[in-house]
């Protein structure tokens, strides 16, 4: 895919504005801390190590993606962070407090939408505040604002079944954000969407992320999606699931789809391909056939 005759900069070679941006991030407080996280699935003939010694931190308003081949345990990782699964070892902490189960401080957006079919779009968005017992009039106003931000004000009274996939996922995002979480967990949220919708959803998400004070942990297997959206990318390897590298994305913000062909973008993508598909620069031409 990459012609080695084209000279790309190193993905480690940050433009000055990007370097400055990362320095600024470093000063922010840590929202999510993951330490020595491990997950072993017992029960089979041999125990399967899904995650092994995973360590990283997510800072306030950071957009961080976790990427890796299928079976690398990235979904297990985000489900542990959400509190839907328990780790075999290690600690997940939000604002320094260890996670013991699911909670409103970690909003989650799932690949399969998971909107409540019996509630209208507005009531779906209001679900979290309602569970917290927030007064209806106050919550209503907030819900309207979130619906406006995701561009669904006109569809507030429809039921999820009447929406397209992209619209459903926007409702799911609004629903998670209306609950005012410390961190937004997104588990391959655009995986079920067609390519075009996925593109517009990515742009949408960036807009929401820049408009709202929200920290995002994003799971994907799409390299370009990860680069386009993220500040940093955690690359997991499979069997056992472990961190191969954490990449600071050198593509300056604000991002646009034109950057897909910029040198920094391509350099990052090349590095990701090497890590995930195990291809080194100058590897044999059959490398393409080796990855899954």
């Amino acid at each position: 895919m990459f012609d080695d005759s084209i000279q790309l900069p190193s993905y480690l070679d940050h433009p000055p504005e990007v370097a400055e941006y990362f320095q600024e991030i470093e000063k922010r407080r840590v929202v999510l801390g993951i330490e020595h996280l491990g997950r072993v699935f017992e029960g089979g003939e041999t125990p399967v190590v899904a995650l092994s010694d995973v360590n990283f931190q997510v800072r306030q308003r950071e957009f961080i993606s976790v990427i890796g081949p299928s079976g690398c345990g990235k979904s297990t990782l985000i489900r542990i962070v959400a509190g839907l699964e328990e780790p075999s070892s290690g600690v997940v902490a939000v604002d320094g407090i260890p996670v013991t189960g699911p909670g409103a401080d970690r909003g989650m957006v799932f690949q399969n939408y998971t909107l409540f079919p019996w509630l209208t779009v507005r009531k779906n968005v209001l679900f979290g505040p309602r569970m917290k017992g927030i007064r209806a009039d106050k919550a209503d106003k907030a819900a309207d604002e979130w619906l406006k931000l995701v561009g669904l004000s006109d569809f507030a009274e429809l039921y999820p079944a009447q929406l397209s996939g992209g619209m459903k996922q926007r409702v799911a995002i609004a629903r998670a954000l209306a609950n005012d979480p410390r961190i937004l967990l997104m588990d391959e949220p655009f995986g079920a969407l067609d390519a075009q919708t996925r593109c517009s959803m990515q742009a949408h998400l960036l807009r929401i992320w820049s408009a709202a004070d929200v920290t995002v942990l994003f799971i994907t297997h799409d390299l370009e999606e990860a680069i386009y959206l993220s500040d940093r990318i955690v690359v997991l390897g499979a069997r056992p699931g472990r961190i191969l590298e954490i990449i600071d994305v050198p593509v300056p913000r604000p991002r646009s789809q034109e950057q897909f062909l910029s040198a920094h973008f391509l350099a990052t993508k090349k590095r990701l391909e090497e890590l995930i598909h195990g291809r080194n620069p100058g590897a044999d031409a059959d490398g393409e056939l080796l990855h899954d």
């Binding site: 509190g83 799932f110 399969n112 409540f116 079919p117 397209s164």
Partner: protein, 358 residues
């Protein structure tokens, strides 16, 4: 058909459309095929009843001929209904004696009543006083049956639905209750008849109890299964939105299972009608079953049919009313709220470009 000018409707296409594999019928076809579902059995009934020689295996003797001629079949008398063979044999005896032959017309057996007779009975059964004073009129019987069904099913649902939801929600309760319920489920409700009469007397109570036994145990298992089928990812989503355990049950499990539970209830009401017939014959016979039993003893088979048809009609009507009600109870399944209709009209009115944006 030429290749260059394909006709819009190819020959055989309507049939191909009707018989598409898992292809829904268009609304008009749906309606007419539905009508056919009732029309076909009805036509068959009419043919057998009114067209001679399709069946008509008996003869109603109008004139027995010379009854003084002895013979094996000399019992054939005027006004009797005898098998066709018997009639033929009798006439053979008579003709051998050169006596006057018997006359009669071919009829169907008494248990096959013609449509017009049943139709008349449907009317007269309501308007004719019962033969024995003290017996119930048909409408009283019908009301009585409905009453027993209503109370039996209500009690059953009152306990069965919450217990089923509990089992479907907490594996602990499923393990605690389901094995025993599964065990009792296999016992046919009618075997409890004598017990129930001893416990509750001869009136309505034992009948209600039989309906309860017949539906309750099935209901617990069906409800718990339906509850379990609520998408687990909805529960996960609710948990990440901060729902507590109780909120999870009340705001996710229950509304998520509700349309399915409603469908279950519609099916189980049908079962209640099945048990009704047994239930009403224990203790003091009552309701439609008693009416049918009574009419059958008087050999008023037109009335028997009328009562059976009425059970079918009531069952179908209740089910259809419930189906229509479901559209209003669960608008998210069909999207049939007033507001949604207005919204849809608005969306149609919007320029296409505005929609493309979404």
């Amino acid at each position: 058909m030429s290749m260059t000018t394909p006709s819009r409707v190819a020959p055989g296409e309507p049939l191909a459309r009707l018989l598409g594999v898992r292809k829904p019928l268009d609304p008009r076809a749906r309606f007419w095929v539905g009508v056919l579902a009732f029309a076909l059995p009805f036509i068959a009934w009419c043919l057998v009843s009114y067209v001679p020689f399709i069946w008509h295996p008996q003869v109603l003797v109008s004139n027995a001929g010379d009854t003084n001629v002895p013979g094996e079949y000399s019992y054939v008398a005027s006004g009797d209904t005898v098998d066709f063979d018997v009639f033929v044999m009798r006439n053979r005896e008579l003709s051998a004696a050169h006596a006057k032959l018997a006359e009669g017309k071919r009829v169907n057996p008494i248990y096959l009543q013609a449509p017009h007779e049943v139709a008349r009975a449907m009317y007269t059964a309501f308007t004719t006083a019962p033969e024995r004073t003290g017996d119930a009129w048909l409408h009283e019987s019908l009301l009585q049956s409905c009453k027993v069904i209503f109370w039996g099913f209500l009690w059953s649902a009152l306990f069965g639905v919450p217990l089923g939801v509990l089992c479907g929600t907490f594996p602990f309760f499923a393990r605690l209750f389901e094995p025993f319920v599964d065990f009792v489920r296999y016992m046919p409700a009618p075997v409890f008849g004598a017990l129930m009469v001893t416990m509750f007397g001869l009136a309505d109570e034992p009948k209600i109890a039989i309906i309860f036994i017949g539906t309750f145990f099935q209901m617990v298992l069906i409800v718990s299964n339906t509850t379990r089928s609520v998408d687990a990812s909805l529960l996960h989503a609710a948990q990440t939105l901060g729902a507590s355990k109780l909120q999870l049950v009340w705001h996710v499990v229950v509304p998520g299972a509700l349309p399915g539970l409603y469908r279950d209830m519609r099916i189980l009401i049908g079962w209640a009608w099945t048990y009704l017939v047994v239930a009403e014959l224990i203790g003091e016979k009552s309701g439609l079953s008693a009416f049918i039993y009574q009419q059958q003893r008087y050999r008023h088979f037109d009335n028997v049919y009328a009562a059976i048809v009425i059970i079918g009609v009531v069952g179908l009507a209740v089910d259809q009313v419930l189906a229509v009600l479901a559209r209003y109870l669960f608008p998210w399944e069909t999207g049939q709220t007033k507001l949604v209709r207005v919204m849809r009209a608005m969306r149609r009115a919007l320029p296409q470009r505005a929609l493309a944006r979404t």
